[in-house]
Assembly symmetry: C2
Homo-oligomer: 222 residues x 2
């Protein structure tokens, strides 16, 4: 994560070598992004060179966040970048494109569980599109648990849904709809991935705490 | 996950070929586990063969759960198996070995953040050992967020800690302390990994729901 470009602003126009210097992204990588049309071409000058500005630096940062934080492959990065560039796409739908890209390839084999998850989400009254990959992710987890002999129902996910909703409501509330689309996508990717990890670490710590209260002697804890 | 051995019981003693047949684990893999001492040797019979029983089948299942669900490398699986076999190790400490193995290698570079996380956990009053890898995982997330320009404090983790604790308390409560150590480890691994995924999927679905309420037109949702 630390190799992500910091928030530097270019006030002038610069050549590719300086764009590389300021962003920390190697020139061959920048050229690759240009060829792949992830990065818009620079403005051509008389001397057969191209000039880049702050929008290019900003886009490089988005590409790095999608690739390094979101761990997206190039094809998925392109989808997100196209959604950002599509002026006609509503804000909510653009966020949906990024969220779908983050989900990656999802196993859609858990057919009976998928039906249970769908009716569970209806009961909750959640407004989520029918083709949201997280539906299949949930169904796949349920199917795996059953294959391992766990007796789970969609209903047993209720406490998880409640906890997730309390957090998600806060998280969406602090999204400022006046920020740029690029900033919004970046916050979605970083927020989704980073707080997923943070929550998982806190849950494990809390397991240790509750296990210590229940099974521990208390002597081995600071 | 589906390749995990189902809950089959062997009531008799069988040869390696039948242990393989019943478990679905190929003979060369079983021989590898024997060489690596993950699986105890079978009882040698007169005819220079070895016989295996239900405990071997059970151990094969544990190894597969650790490897396939927990995604642990062989060295980590060995640590967990040794903890299970160590009669003198208290229940809570054995669970700790498994939890540490699940954490894998943790980046310990986020020194200032680690100090903040430590005092945050003290404030919460959580009984977690000083060398718990999840402390460093949390510190690493905080450090990454700051490198990306997010203004986060340990205090901003409070809602996540509250949600995690509510779930973890329920989860630890349903652990039956009279089950075998092998079953307890297996439940810990499966429960930690599977419900982490389930929670992440529910949080993403809930983001979509709250984003739809806030930014969506409502027309594109089922």
């Amino acid at each position: 994560l630390l190799s992500i470009i910091e928030s530097i602003t270019i006030h002038d126009k610069v050549r590719i070598s300086e764009l590389s210097g300021r962003s920390g992204v190697p020139i061959p990588t920048i050229k690759y992004y240009l060829r792949e049309e992830l990065l818009p071409a620079g403005r051509h000058t008389a001397r057969n060179q191209a000039e880049y500005d702050d929008s290019h630096l900003r886009r490089l940062r988005l590409i790095r966040v999608l690739g390094e934080v979101g761990e997206l492959p190039i094809a998925a990065i392109r989808q997100v970048v196209m959604a950002v560039d599509d002026e006609s796409l509503p804000f909510h739908d653009m966020l949906g494109v990024a969220q779908r890209a983050l989900a990656g390839d999802v196993d859609r084999d858990a057919i009976p569980e998928r039906r249970e998850i769908d009716s569970f989400l209806s009961e909750l009254g959640w407004r989520v599109s029918r083709d949201s990959p997280a539906r299949d992710q949930l169904a796949a987890v349920m199917s795996s648990l059953r294959a391992l002999g766990w007796d789970v129902s969609a209903r047993s996910l209720r406490p998880y849904a409640r906890a997730a909703s309390a957090l998600a409501e806060r998280e969406v509330k602090i999204v400022d709809p006046t920020i740029s689309k690029v900033d919004a996508i970046e916050r979605l990717v970083i927020g989704t991935v980073a707080f997923e990890k943070a929550f998982a670490a806190l849950r494990r710590l809390s397991h240790e705490h509750h296990s210590a209260l229940r099974f521990g002697s208390g002597r081995r804890f600071a």
